[in-house]
Amino acid sequence: MSVVHADLHYTKTHEWVKVHGDGTATVGITDHAQEALGDIVFVETPDVGRQVEAGDGCAVVESVKAASDIYAPLAGEVVEVNTALADTPELINESAYGDGWIFTLRIADAGAVDGLLDAAGYQAALDAEA
């Protein structure tokens, strides 16, 4: 059974979003996503400074099985990326919601957060997939 954290927001494409008080949000992939992908061996992070629209493919996670696009959950500017993933991509398997975070955005429109799924909504989406 995959872990879903109550204090995060989610997308149907299995990204999680942690909204900070300073107008930024950190993005990663969910426990369900890392488990489905299998052992992760390479992560391509976006360039810092890149402007993204919600739904843009802006990172790639490659497992032993296949490459998967990671989509920006919100519009904004990439302000930080997890450089540790370059040498230790397995952090996503080991700590999907923690050390395996992928990038941080400065959110263009704080109101857009309301359009994301909450934990109950994501859990319901997982249940519907199963």
């Binding site: 299998g38 061996v41 390479f42 296949a66 490459a67």
Partner: protein
């Protein structure tokens, strides 16, 4: 739902992730594909390969039938138990399937063909059996377990029946020990030593449980694929198929050109291609830039597309990305691969990357 092997309940008990493959529901991994891969390189792992299809070929015309059917020549098989890897070609020189052929005695052979192609293969064999005194027996009653790794044979030996245990430990690579119920080949698809055991379906769960109890790592199709890729072994349907033959997929060594008078299916097409200067090469690639090589990515040289990756992935033993690729003749020592629109540099190398746990070439 796909077909299930006699070991399906064992996979469920081990919490395998099950995926469809060649019409079968098979284990992809049992937790971590990387751990399974390393277990085979360092110690031992077991694989359920019961989806593969043994086919027994017997009758006074068995040998002459196979000399017509296969691009390699079973006349090389003089000692009982000896195995031969071969392609079975169509008239255009494309590959209907690749297979292993074991010689069991005069006019007695056992083929092992791929799962997804078994129906087609049997139809092909039947269609070309006219005029030969031959029986073609698809053995649906048999299961198959591969045990691979440096310690595989020693760990498996106590579980073998008395009538083939000593023989199984004595045979050279690419031979089989033929017991009354079990058939033990010293063959595999990983680049490591080991056995492939063909046995009655009802015996398979007991052997599997014994191997698990001996502490051997169960391994799924995921590790099977990264192990065979590191070993530079082709996968049917990916590295070659009915439109691409052995000369353009690194399997020229499996064609028995002599004797010249042996008219095997596909020979004329192969002879024409052999002398064609445009014939494509089959090479190994080692990615030096960042990323992961995957099937169908384009190979670039001096900005031009010169070929395509047929199999690619992350090589756990090398901790690098590697690939097999079909390219225009004359590619130099370096190239690039188009990964999501970026030309990422790679080295052109031999197709064997790993053998017996170690890099097979200096990278």
């Amino acid at each position: 739902m796909g077909l299930r092997t006699p070991l399906f309940a064992e996979h469920e008990r081990l919490n395998a992730r099950i995926v469809p493959f060649g019409g079968w529901d098979m284990p992809l991994h049992y937790g971590s594909q990387l751990e399974e891969h390393h277990a085979v390189r360092r110690r031992a792992g077991i694989f359920d390969v019961s989806h593969m299809q043994p086919v027994d070929i017997t009758g006074s015309g068995a040998g002459s039938f196979l000399r017509r059917l296969l691009a390699n020549d079973v006349v090389k098989l003089k000692d009982p138990g000896k195995a031969l890897y071969s392609c079975m070609l169509n008239d255009q020189g494309g590959v209907v399937d690749d297979l292993i052929c074991y010689y069991r005695g005069p006019e007695r052979y056992r083929l092992v063909v791929n799962a997804g192609t078994a129906d087609k293969d049997l139809d092909w064999m039947q269609a070309h059996a006219a005029g030969f005194d031959v029986q073609i027996d698809r053995r649906r009653d048999l299961a198959m377990i591969a045990i691979q790794g440096p310690q595989a044979r020693a760990l498996a030996a106590p579980l073998l029946p008395a009538d083939c245990r000593d023989a199984a430990l004595a045979i050279a690579p690419f031979f089989a020990a033929d017991g009354a119920r079990w058939f033990v080949g010293r063959t595999g698809y990983t680049g490591e030593d080991g056995f492939e055991i063909i046995l009655p379906a009802e015996d398979a769960p007991g052997l599997w449980q014994g191997l698990i109890a001996a502490g051997i790592q169960p391994c799924g199709l995921g590790a099977r694929d990264t192990l065979r890729l590191e070993a530079g072994m082709n996968l049917y349907g990916q590295d070659m198929d009915e439109t691409v033959g052995p000369l353009e997929s690194g399997l020229g060594w499996t064609i028995a050109w002599e004797p010249l008078e042996r008219q095997f299916i596909g020979r004329e097409a192969l002879v024409a291609l052999r002398d064609n200067p445009a014939r494509r090469d089959f090479v190994g690639l080692l990615l030096t830039g960042r990323g992961v090589l995957r099937g169908h990515q384009q190979v670039l040289s001096e900005g031009r597309v010169v070929g395509e990756i047929t199999s690619g992935g992350f090589a756990p033993t090398l901790e690098r990305s590697i690939a097999l690729a079909r390219v225009a003749p004359g590619l130099g020592a370096t190239c690039a691969v188009d990964i999501r629109g970026k030309a990422v540099p790679a080295l052109v190398v031999k197709t064997t990357f790993v053998r017996h746990g170690k890099p097979a070439q200096a990278f």
